[in-house]
């Protein structure tokens, strides 16, 4: 089926098989390997993407469902200068990365949360990550990285540095 969608800020027109998942389509057909396969049943969040700004598990969608939508994967998350976003930098600084397999999904989950709630407390952060499994970190440093990013963005908003 012929579909048109936006992938990491670029419009794509492509034939998408109807019988494969969006996860397989992104990874195997489009080479977007930052999207990971951890379970294929919608339980781990390693395959998470932002679909029109919403955090969804791409293993639970079919490829044609991308039609007309806007998809952001970890590859599409970059600062204006093409470098790291503040959240990505805090993931590094706060030790939120161990093996890194969950990391793309975790960062996208963090962005989805901060878009809705710019001042989350620890409980709200933990709840927002409920669908993303991490076996290495115990999540704590991931909470720290998201909280630090939220504080920094708040400070910038009040000083007017960042719209």
């Amino acid at each position: 089926m012929q579909i048109t969608f936006s992938l990491n800020h670029q419009t794509i027109e492509i034939d998408a098989p109807a019988d494969i998942t969006l996860l397989t389509f992104l990874r195997e057909h489009l080479g977007v390997t930052g999207v990971k396969d951890g379970c294929d049943v919608g339980e781990c969040g390693a395959c998470a993407i932002l679909l029109d700004g919403q955090l969804v598990n791409s293993c639970q969608l079919l490829a044609p469902q991308a039609d007309g939508r806007e998809i952001i994967t970890i590859e599409g998350l970059r600062a204006a200068d093409g470098g790291l976003t503040d959240l990505q930098r805090h993931f590094i600084d706060d030790g939120a990365v161990q093996c890194g397999f969950c990391t793309p999904g975790m960062i996208l989950a963090g962005e989805a949360l901060l878009a809705k709630n710019p001042t989350p407390d620890r409980e709200e952060i933990a709840d927002a990550l409920a669908g993303n499994l991490c076996r290495c970190t115990g999540y704590i440093q991931i909470f720290d990285a998201i909280a630090a990013t939220a504080r920094e963005r708040q400070a910038q908003t009040t000083t007017g540095e960042r719209p």
Binding site: R27, E28, G31, T33, G34, V35, K36, D37, G38, C39, D40, V41, E43, C44, A46, T73, I74, E75, L77, L84, Q88, R89, F91, I92, D93, D94, G95, V97, Q98, C99, G100, F101, C102, T103, P104, I107, E123, I125, A126, D127, L129, A130, G131, N132, L133, C134, R135, C136, T137, G138, Y139, I140, Q141, I142, F143
Partner: protein, 781 residues
Amino acid sequence: MSPSRHGARYVGQPAPRVDALEKVLGSARFLADITLPGMLHARALRSRLPHARIKRLDVSPALAIPSVHAVITNDDFIDHGSYGFPVKDDYMLAHEKVRYVGDAIAAVAAETPEAALAGVQAIICELEPLPIVSDVTQALDDDAPQVGPDRADGEHPNFLSRSIVNAGDAAAELNVADVVLQDEFSTPHQEHAYLETEGALAIPTPEGGVVIYCSNQSPFINRDNVAMALGLPPELVRSIQPPVGGSFGGKDDLNYEASAQCAALALKTGRPVRMIFSREESMVASYKRNAMKMWVEVGAQKDGTLRVCRFRGLLDSGAYASESPFTAWRASIHAMGAYRYAAVDIDVTAVYTNNAFSGAFRGFGNPEVNFAIEQMMDELATKLDMDPMDLRLQNALRLGDHLPHGQKLDESVSLVQCLDAARQKSDWDRKRREFARHNASNEIKKGIGVAALFHGLSLGAEGADYAGATIRIDDNNRIILTSGFTDYGQGSRTVFTLIAAEVLGVRPERIDMLRPDTDTAIESGPTVASRATVLGGNATRLAAANLRHTLDLAAADLLGCQVAQLVRDEETYIGPEERPIPWEDIAAHARSLGLQLSAQGRWQAPSIHWDHNAGRGEPYFAYHFAVQVAEVTVDMGTGQVQVDDIWAVHDLGKVIFPQGAEGQVYGGIAQGLGYALSERIDYVNGYLQQTNFDRYRIPTAPEMPRIHITLLEDALSAGPFGAKNVAEPAMVPTAAAIANAVAHASGRRIRHLPITLEQVLLGRNLMRPATADRARRGLLL
């Protein structure tokens, strides 16, 4: 020139993980992210029966499928692909028999994963069912079906190993002790649940060899296994490690099988071959933490002085030995806990069953025995009307004490300090009192519990203990560092980078720490048993010191002084005339003198000895000590247990990579939390009931307690900069501390993990409806 004299510049200071950047960008290429032109996809046919004779195996229908390029069986390997250490009882593909559901029988390479699956389903494989044994207590019965290999020594074929520790006269001590307590405990299998499943990629080389990319723990063992199974000289097999998506002890055997299968298929087809396990395949086929049954007796004096511990452990190795004999040995060494005794009598026996198989998992037998002995300590405290903290303090191993095993502890023994810190930080005394009062009149109860541990460093008497590292300066003045140790997420590459930077006096950003590759690194034995920091750290330290010596000579020559007169200002060298010379100029001068800017370091652990027959000796050259306290809320109406806080006090000797050390403690506690409360594995007649994350429940973010970490630094002279390891001990005491807290809250002593709602409410686990379907469906058979 010891860096520590001036305070460490890099070691122990905040630093980013060296591989974090590519991981936050999503550009790190894990195995499943590597695709090559012409690459074939492989899949294994796996057994759908827990025990059977292979009556007929006909692969020709698979080969008839146009996009299937090759199918292999055990006949494609030397000696049927027999491998395994310490017991060579497993096969790269099953030979004559299958011994568990998921045992690999044949492997198919095809153009697509779908075609590979079609090939697997087309293979004609007739299995003749054999009787099974799945209950560990029946494995050694005279009429138990034979799972283990034939043996000539008269032992039961299902007997795998026995490990003992002996001190004093345990029987006599039990007779005269004022109090004797006796109880039975059990711990279940645990799945590693790394988010990245197993797999391998093999690329045939023009000279007839093969290059393997595999997310294994030990690339050198992988290389040797593949070479052996294919009859290739080791030089023709290269094993390279891409980023590894978690391991925790779990990426050995099955990854070696996948590597050998892909290598054989690659040689047969002349094309790259990649195999990636599905989650279900990973859970059904991969080895687990050993399930264990334990019978414990402790005797003490009225005043709380421990006298004796008698311990019997029965460890389920499952279908193959894997590393279970080592796990059983480590369990026996730690079974009595970190205390002084007049006598101990410890026996841990490992047996074969048809419950998949078990092998290495973080903690290696210690979380299992810790769950039993640390609850016994609390039961004893209750019996003697003592505070559990006081009982532990009274009996804790101290500097200068002898372990029951016979070894004198002469440095870095910090259990008392750990207990004191945990008591104070957790506000233990107040909470013990106030919770007891609160609980008398409330359905929602509060509890606080403690568990202590010791954990032997590195392999100990389990194997030859050495490590190597290489270091060189390239033409762009970048420093290239290698180690035979794997970094599967625990941060050892950063630890080694910081150590080398410290010793050389250069910025860590100048250093490229390569991933393990059998062509560039020096063999260093397996990356297990928390060996990396001490063994690999020391080898790195020595390699860097050797290189530094060369640079210092060049600097002294250039500055016209003695090496002892050199001073450093960050990277810059300064001579007696205060003339600063940039580090690059020193390197250039060394080259002009004809000096080679590369070095190696090799570190051998202090020698130790263990007498397996007497059960006495020096099991490890040093020990990690730690204490964790858990605070819980228990709802007596629903049986719900919530862990609110954990205080973790660990002695690391010296913290080298702070963010990494804390991450190991957090992550270890999370795995201990899952082990305690939610990670349930059931083998029913050999069939696994939990085949994906929907039923196998690892902790999620909202379940995490607040965690308060205190890291002590009682330096170990043999450790690099005094450091000891932390990855394993972090998870050892968590389940026991939680169980003790639950007992404090509810009055219920739960001796069988996991601590489920029904155990809290009814005191026992309910049987769940069981089925063979899930495991079979998971294998798509």
